[in-house]
Structures are given as structure tokens and as C-alpha cells.
Amino acid sequence: MNTRTDARGTRIHRTVTALWTRYGGILLWVVVAHAVITAVLRLIPAFDALIVVPDGAIDLPNSMRSLYCYRAP
């Protein structure tokens, strides 16, 4: 077993665990908020206007005008 590698691994783990313990909860809640907003935008048709680039606004093929949404405008 490589002791130096083992020590480095332990140090990485300790650092990440400390960071996670301190900021992990906040990070997860930010991700959850983003996930909920994204799901609403992507799954509810009423929000299409917010995520589909209007026809003619930019010269893009149909498949590219909807960066966040499947439906072609």
C-alpha cells in the first residue's frame, strides 16, 4: 500500500467532508430550487414563451430555438 497516496486521499476526503458539512445543505437547496423551477418551465406549456426564442428573432434552425424546451416554436 502506498502510504503517501493514502495520506493524500485522507486529506482530500477530510477537506471535502468539511466543506460539505458546512455548505452542502445550502448547495443542495439551491439545486432543489433550480430543479423545481426548471421542471415547471419544461413541463407546463404556459411557460413556453419564457424558454422558446420567438420565430424570426434570431436566425436559428427550429431545433436550436428551443434551448430549454423540446417543442419547436
Binding site: 486521499g9 476526503h13 443542495l28 428551443s66 434551448l67
Partner: protein, 320 residues
């Protein structure tokens, strides 16, 4: 069903972790497309996860000992697995591994019997034998639009010019995954199920909307971080404290990588811009295979007992 099983089976204990697992599937590009074009990936995934939860629970000893399960539980799981077989291209390898991990003959026999009855009921009004219908279905599979596929063996064979060997390769993968799961059936249930889900996603032609199945390895990886290094046994080289720490950090990063890549706009994943977006295909492939190799080579918790109960006491945060 998908969200609830994700929370329960992942051993998440903090509220933020439970919320993350609960919403994991909802914003993914694959979910959106499956909903909007009516693909069955979400239904199949829900049925498979429901069956897996009924048969193995969180992977603890009591749930995974075949004979200790009630007949009603096995029957309900068999019904769900039969529903999942509505799309065998997505469900078959995962279904086989779930049955192997679950143990006991009853779920397997019930699933086969139910599927046989349902197939006969469907075949009789059409006046053709189930075998004929199966071959017709397979011939339909051969005319699939391979260039629109996403991260699967058929697409890679198509790129390499080996279209003729697709079905044999799929069968080899299916048999190989089954033998592998049988060989390591004593390993933690959700690790085997998670890897089988990746095999199900890779073994045959799939488009990007079938990425909904990736929730399964995400559950397995999350459980791996929660049941964590304290319970790991195995070769000394893999269980040294430093290696275990790096393995846990790598596991968490892989969950994050797959979650982020799952948000890529569908146009980038659909094969409509294969040259321009090849790097996303390559990145996703590397992440998936890394996950598979990482999970397969990770040291395993000692036995299956008390997965989540142990996780609460052993790992209040990421894995501390």
C-alpha cells in the same frame, strides 16, 4: 413512485438530501421529452423501481431473503415487472438483475406466467402466434433510426460499420450482465441494480428520452455514499482510509456530473447535430462508463444488513 423510491432507497437522511432525490428526475431533459412525446420510459422506470423496492427494499437482509417475502408482495412485484416488459428494450437487463438480486423463485415464475398470459391475450384476437408477433416486432426494431440514437452500443456499432452484429452483441451483453449479477449476487442489491440500469440503457438502441433510467444508478451511487467507507470491506488496497475517502468523493462527483449532463438541451443530445455536439456524447459516455467501472470496483459494505439504518448512524452528512 420514482421520486418516493429514490428517497427511500438512497438512504438520504437530511431533509435537503431527500428533497434533492425527490426532485432529481423532474427537471431532466429526458423527463420533459418522455412526457411531451408520450414515450414510456417514465412508466417503465416507475414499474421497475416499484418492483425493486417491493422485492429488495433498501437492500437490507430481511427484504432480500426470498422466502421471507409475502406472496402478495411477490405478486405485486411480478405485476409491476410485467408492466415494465411493455418496453423490453428498456427493461429487460434491469428486470433480470432485479429478479436475480431478489432471490427466490416466486417472482420469476409469476412474472413469466403473467407475461405469457398477457401475450396470449394480445395474440389471440390478431390470429397469429406469439412467436410470429415477436419476430415481427424484432424486424421493426431493425428499421430504427440509428443516427438519432444516443449513447448506446447500436450507435457505436453503426459508427464503426458493424450494423450486422447488433442483435448478437445485445444478446451477449444481456447474458454477460445476467451471469455477472449472479456471480456477485451477494453484493449490495442497489449497486447491482444501478449497474444493470446502465446496461439497460446501453445494450440496445435508445434515444435521449430513455435517460430517465439514469435515476436508478443515481440512487445506487447515493446509497453508496451514505452506507460509506466505515462499512466497507475488501482488499486492503481498496479499503485503506485514503482510498475510501477518494472513492466516496468520486461517487458524489459522479452523481453531480450525471445530474448536470442530464440538463443538456434535447437538441444537443438527439443526434441532430452529431458533429457539433460530439463532445457532449463523448463526455456522457465517459461519465457513464466511469460510473460503471467505479461502482463495480468499489469496495462493498460488509454484507447487506441494515443498509439505511446503518447509514444514519455512520453517515450523518456526505459520508462522515
Amino acid at each position: 413512485v420514482i421520486s418516493v423510491v429514490a428517497v427511500r432507497a438512497s438512504c438520504a437522511d437530511r431533509l435537503a438530501e431527500k428533497a434533492f432525490l425527490f426532485v432529481f428526475i423532474l427537471p431532466l431533459g429526458a423527463t420533459m421529452i418522455a412526457v411531451w412525446i408520450g414515450q414510456l420510459g417514465l412508466h417503465v422506470t416507475a414499474a421497475l423501481l416499484g418492483a425493486a423496492w417491493l422485492l429488495v427494499g433498501d437492500g437490507s437482509e430481511a427484504a432480500t431473503t426470498g422466502p421471507s417475502r409475502s406472496r402478495a408482495r411477490d405478486a405485486a412485484a411480478a405485476a409491476l415487472l410485467t408492466i415494465a416488459l411493455v418496453k423490453p428494450t428498456l427493461s429487460l437487463p434491469l428486470l433480470v438483475v432485479i429478479l436475480i438480486v431478489a432471490g427466490g423463485w416466486r417472482p420469476t415464475v409469476l412474472t413469466a406466467a403473467l407475461y405469457g398470459v398477457v401475450t396470449l391475450i394480445a395474440a389471440v384476437p390478431q390470429g397469429r402466434s406469439p412467436v410470429t408477433l415477436a419476430f415481427e416486432w424484432l424486424s421493426r426494431e431493425e428499421i430504427m433510426n440509428l443516427p438519432l440514437g444516443s449513447v448506446n452500443v447500436y450507435l457505436w456499432l453503426y459508427w464503426l460499420g458493424f450494423e450486422g452484429s447488433m442483435i448478437p452483441v445485445s444478446l451477449i451483453i444481456l447474458i454477460g450482465a445476467s451471469v455477472w449479477a449472479w456471480r456477485y449476487r451477494a453484493a449490495p442489491s442497489w449497486l447491482l441494480i444501478g449497474i444493470a440500469a446502465l446496461v439497460s440503457r446501453l445494450w440496445i438502441h435508445h434515444r435521449a428520452f430513455d435517460d430517465v433510467l439514469l435515476i436508478v444508478p443515481a440512487i445506487a451511487l447515493f446509497q453508496a455514499t451514505k452506507t460509506g467507507p466505515a462499512a466497507m470491506t475488501g482488499p486492503a488496497i481498496m479499503t485503506a482510509p485514503g482510498r475510501r475517502g477518494v472513492a466516496t468523493v468520486a461517487t458524489a462527483l459522479l452523481i453531480a456530473a450525471v445530474y448536470v449532463l442530464g440538463h443538456a438541451p434535447y437538441a444537443y443530445l438527439s443526434g441532430e447535430h452529431p458533429g457539433r455536439w460530439l463532445f457532449i456524447e463523448v463526455a456522457r459516455t465517459i461519465v457513464w462508463l466511469t460510473r460503471r467501472a467505479h461502482v463495480a470496483r468499489s469496495p462493498v459494505p460488509a454484507g447487506r444488513g441494515d443498509q439505511c439504518i446503518g447509514a444514519v448512524t455512520r453517515a450523518p452528512s456526505l459520508d462522515a
